[in-house]
Symmetry: C2
Subunit: 243 residues, 2 copies
């Protein structure tokens, strides 16, 4: 059975302006690989409702899961919950369970749950809350869309709580070989080997170090024995050191 598929939607002007370097994509990619969910596409869009709604609807219908990051804080530019509600055609409003989570948190901190903070209790109709152990304001899952914060530490904490509830597949096994020869030297035999092993993927990632060219060749597949056998064949044919 093929693994479940996923896409990610990163929401935020700050990534597209170059102000902030996104960290959540790389984290999500690694975590999904571990549990056997195949990340197939990532999109980054600005804080524009039309763009967000269009991307949400395209990605949630094309893949088994959609993970979003960003835009669920208390300020005027935090519009993700509204856009998710619009994409699903449901209402978005303050919900008692989310308000209670925030109220308890701010009571503990001695901080007022003001109108801005209450925005973070606005949850689209029908969604289930995602726990935020860092700063309380919850994410949520609506259908196959998982809405999480953009702050990397909060994103990671929400994801850690969410992932065990999702059905994973077969984790992908990979073996990397560092081959100290230029890609142009190894491309022929490598292509022939890839053609001979259609169940495995062979990626070649060139590097240049101290003026010398080399390539990291990554063999990936769900059958660990097949990956190991292909790695042995590759070493016999081209040299290379497991890394």
């Amino acid at each position: 059975m093929p693994n479940p598929t996923a896409a990610m939607l990163v929401i935020g002007d700050e990534i597209l302006s170059g102000r902030t370097r996104d960290a959540n994509m790389h984290h999500l990619a690694g975590e999904l690989t571990k549990v056997g969910i195949d990340l197939k596409e990532v999109r980054v869009v600005s804080d524009d409702p039309t763009a967000i709604v269009a991307a949400v609807n395209a990605l949630r219908s094309a893949f088994d899961h959609l993970f979003t990051s960003g835009g669920i804080g208390p300020t005027h530019d935090d519009i993700t919950a509204d856009c998710i509600a619009a994409a699903f055609g449901v209402e978005n409003g303050v919900r008692d369970d989310a308000r209670a989570v925030l109220q308890a948190h701010y009571d503990r901190e001695g901080i007022e749950l003001n109108a801005a903070r209450l925005r973070m209790a606005r949850i689209p109709e029908g969604a289930a809350l995602i726990d935020n152990p860092v700063s309380a304001a919850p994410g949520f899952t609506l259908g196959n869309v998982h809405v999480m914060a953009g702050v990397p530490r909060i994103f990671a904490a929400m994801l850690a709580g969410l992932l065990p509830s999702l059905q994973g597949g077969a984790p992908v096994i990979s073996q990397t070989l560092r081959i100290e020869r230029a890609e142009g030297e190894i491309a022929g035999p490598l292509g022939a080997m890839a053609a001979a092993h259609p169940a495995l993927s062979f990626g070649s990632y060139p590097y240049q170090r101290d003026g010398r060219f080399g390539a990291n060749v990554v063999i990936r597949g769900q059958d660990g024995d097949a990956v190991a056998a292909a790695a042995r064949d590759l070493v016999a044919a081209l040299g290379g050191v497991p890394v």
Copy 2:
């Protein structure tokens, strides 16, 4: 006149598997902001021809420019040129000008221009070459699509050569204020200020440092005087330190 718009397409399984952290998106975002081209969307897709062709056609028709990274090396998984040709419905084959660039480079290095390396001279019909001062194998521009390498040093070098040939717009001026108050405290006044200045954008990026909450507020716009005036108003209303 509004600035030209752009999208980016990052091609490569290694990003989506979490093996490699993309660096080109952040670099492109910063460089485009400097020259007044507005990066509106980024997509990351795997080494899958159907996904690449669909993304190329969607993005090149929606934006003034499309920049791609990855998949133009000599190995079997380098399929970007084929996909661009397919997206435009033109032929892809070894071209004399690209072959001459490679031949001269490999002659200098005393390396054979073998069949794998010759793959890098395959350029879609009608494209103009983009110079690669690092390792010779060229990128290319076809229509409004600029195809560049995935290796960050080569991507940056190609982009540096390409950008002066593109028509830019008004660079975006930005001013960042660090406000040592929680986002929930400043969200109300900040939202009111954003509503009062529709020509500017006000982004709020929360942080937590040494257990204290704060926010970096970024004011952006094409009119430097208006940005500066809004920054002064914001400091008067909420405090904050220019950073």
